[in-house]
């Protein structure tokens, strides 16, 4: 496996910037306000210096990731073509941040798929090291799941085939090459994958411009604008800046209408507690695996790494001209501001509606035919390793072999002092019990990731469908997963 290197190293231009232009630009920036007083000529560096800090929240409009267009479509099939490559993103105003990205952008382009239409995503690895792609939350055959050892070598390609034979859900695709996801996702290899179906369309939920994916991730920066990464195997990476769709705590102009906001926590290891304004109502309609049975009103909700929560917010309730902040109540000083909604004047007739009654009926699971307990702990010997049931990842070992079509009870027991967002590939589960209290109605639908709190035991019931084969389950605090907090299961037919 060729060695990972951060995107910055590839840019010979950056060597020049490091030693020359970078320092010069910084000097200009710092010196500008006083030296330019009374002068007519205003350089771009001076203009930048006179502006607010590049970290000031609510300065930029929310970017929306472009949607990927198929290069070929035929009956029941869409083919997409994606380059996994380096790119530059303007995240801090006036700075270029080197990234890795699908199609060279961060976050990558959104794929919108429909149930019943197969999507083939041809991924070309144009990075100098191995990469692969995992469709997180997807029912995907094992060979296309992005198992950590199934990688695309530099210069190679792979056609990922996604059957899309599952309920509408907010999925995402990201890198999953063994041992380096903390860095590859941090530097940008992630994107939204939105699957819809007939049932959702019949609910008259907000669509198009009113259906907005929001990808949250915390980052830190170097003085040249590059992403700064500091490994912390114990807690996982924590950045001092929250990005939404690749912009520092942006603002979003909203009409006085109903919006569907799809939240994805794509942070390495940070958990969020999201609250709108002074605790205004958000109606949760979906979680990882799609619609809840019934909508749930929430004033605040937690969002652990890799989890998704979809809410409807009725901005008609706010006065025109209002500015409503989405706050991370778990944040530190600079990581509280997530984004702001600026309510525009006017407003039109609303076609969408907020569902009030039953939206779906969850499938009955087969009775569990086994019960397993997985202890989550840090092995503190001479080498650092997070473990599940006292084992670290070993690709040559299968840790559990459930039978296709069955279900089991899995207990995640977390005696450690860290949150462990436990994720199961290729399948979904339901939460049966939390030792810390009742399972919130917003968590009672299908899930693929569950934040297990320190000291908590969570019992989940995975359903081993629809494909046999070799998959993994792991902690989605990326530093934990990379440092071996991952086991293998083989679903046997």
């Amino acid at each position: 496996m060729s060695a990972f290197r951060p995107p910055a190293d590839a840019w010979s231009r950056r060597d020049f910037m490091r030693n020359g232009m970078g320092s010069f630009a910084l000097l200009c920036t710092l010196g500008a306000p006083s030296t330019l007083k009374g002068k007519r000529v205003v350089t771009s560096a001076a203009r930048r210096a006179q502006q607010a800090s590049p970290f000031a929240p609510f300065q930029r409009d929310l970017p929306i990731m472009p949607e990927l267009s198929p290069i070929h479509s035929e009956r029941g099939l869409d083919v997409y073509d994606v380059d996994i490559r380096e790119g530059l993103a303007e995240i801090l105003p006036g700075f270029q941040t080197p990234i890795y990205g699908y199609e060279g952008i961060y976050p990558g382009p959104t794929i919108r798929a429909s149930r019943g239409r197969t999507a083939i995503v041809r991924q070309h690895n144009k990075l100098p090291f191995d990469s692969n792609v995992h469709l997180h939350g997807g029912y995907v055959p094992a060979a296309h799941d992005g198992h950590p050892m199934d990688v695309i070598a530099p210069g190679g390609s792979f056609d990922y085939s996604y059957p899309n034979d599952q309920d509408a859900a907010f999925l995402w695709y990201h890198d999953h090459a063994h041992g380096r996801t903390a860095r590859t996702l941090y530097y940008g290899l992630l994107a939204a994958y939105i699957l819809d179906d007939e049932r959702e369309r019949e609910l008259d939920l907000p669509r198009d411009d009113y259906d907005v994916p929001l990808i949250l991730a915390d980052h830190a920066f170097n003085k040249d604008g590059s992403f700064r990464y500091a490994e912390n195997v114990d807690l996982g990476f924590r950045g001092d800046t929250i990005l939404v769709n690749g912009a520092v705590a942006p603002r979003m102009r909203v009409e006085r209408r109903i919006y569907r906001l799809r939240f994805l926590n794509a942070s390495n290891a940070r958990s969020y507690g999201l609250r709108l304004g002074q605790g205004r109502n958000m109606v949760q309609i979906a979680s990882d695996g799609g619609l809840l049975e019934r909508p749930v009103v929430r004033g605040e909700f937690p969002l652990h790494p890799a989890e998704r929560i979809e809410v409807l917010v009725d901005f008609r309730q706010f006065r025109a001209g209002s500015e409503i902040v989405l706050e991370n109540v778990l944040g530190e000083q600079t990581t509280k501001a997530v984004m702001r909604f600026d309510v525009a004047r006017g407003g039109g007739s609303e076609d969408a509606r907020v569902p009030r009654g039953r939206m779906r009926t969850l499938e009955r699971l087969p009775a569990p035919n086994a019960s397993r307990r997985w202890d989550l702990s840090l092995a503190t010997g001479s080498s650092v390793q997070w473990q599940i049931a006292s084992r670290g990842f070993d690709p040559s070992r299968i840790d559990v072999r459930p039978r296709l079509g069955t279900s089991e009870l899995w207990q995640w027991h977390n005696p450690s002092d860290r949150v462990h967002p436990m994720h199961l590939h290729g399948m979904l589960f339901r939460i049966v019990e939390r030792s810390t209290g009742v399972v919130h109605p917003g968590e009672r639908s299908w899930k693929d990731t569950i934040g297990v709190q320190p000291g908590e035991t969570v019992t989940v019931q995975p359903w081993f469908v629809p494909y046999a084969g070799k998959y993994v389950f792991h902690c989605h605090a990326l530093e934990h997963g990379d440092k071996a907090m991952m086991l293998q299961l083989e679903v046997v037919a």
């Binding site: 490091r18 970078g22 801090l92 706010f318 006065r319």
Partner: protein, 242 residues
């Protein structure tokens, strides 16, 4: 990550324990910020022949696990601090001038986070790190008001309601204080015989054709509801259709 390139001035020299008894300095742990623990002090200047003792002085509960790793300081591999408290101590004597970097593998990638440097003697100063390695901390300030404006609780108001009989039917005119959906009901004998809705803002009106209203005396009721669901009071007027 790239320890080698960061170790300036000391090349790959390995510290050799010296029998000469120099001073001993202690490096402890500072976990005031449990998310970003640091060595305390993180940078230390000593004279050749001095010793350094690493001691875990954990304040967090439960204690954070730490260890000491280095590519240039001998013996660190054997100091298995892990999370045992009281922890064993690590000690090394430095005789060769230079810069020696060390870090905790749990909380640092080797150059950032819980990393430290021991400067022995008076080696030439290292060149400043490139901008791509200098932190650019978020100075965006404290989050201010969570809401400006806020919930719309202002009821729309209906004014200047006029009902004008026409040759055939009637014309209703009114003024509404904000954009609202106005419902107009025609009641006869206490029963609603006709309901009309219209989206309006400011002055507005609607016409009801005679075919739709039989001859008789009507009570016309108007009510406005804004986008937020606030409702105005009911305004009424009389209408006689002949």
């Amino acid at each position: 990550m790239r320890h080698g390139s960061l170790l300036l001035g000391c090349a790959l020299s390995v510290a050799v324990a010296s029998p000469a008894a120099g001073a001993e300095v202690t490096i402890g742990t500072n976990e005031t910020d449990a998310v970003h623990p640091v060595w305390s002090p993180a940078t230390l200047t000593i004279a050749p022949g001095d010793s350094v003792q690493w001691k875990l002085t954990s304040a967090a509960s439960p204690p954070l696990p730490h260890n000491v790793a280095s590519t240039t300081i001998a013996g660190t591999d054997s100091w298995n601090f892990a999370a045992d408290y009281p922890a064993p101590e690590g000690r090394q004597t430095f005789s060769t001038p230079g810069r020696y970097q060390f870090y905790c593998t749990f909380h640092s990638d080797g150059s950032t986070g819980m990393a430290g440097t021991i400067v022995v003697g008076n080696p030439p100063p290292p060149p400043p790190p490139p901008l791509s390695e200098q932190p650019f901390p978020n100075d965006g300030g404290v989050l201010g008001a969570l809401e400006i404006g806020g919930l719309d609780r202002t009821q729309p108001r209906l004014r200047s309601v006029r009902v004008q009989r026409m040759r055939s039917g009637a014309r209703i005119r009114f003024s509404v204080s904000e954009r609202a959906r106005v419902t107009v009901r025609f009641k006869r004998g206490g029963k609603i015989v006709k309901t009309r809705h219209l989206d309006a803002s400011g002055r507005a009106g609607l016409t009801v054709r005679g075919k739709q209203l039989r001859a008789g005396r009507y009570r016309v009721e108007l009510r406005a509801e804004d986008l937020a669901g606030n409702r105005s009071g009911v305004r009424t007027a009389r209408l006689t259709v002949r």
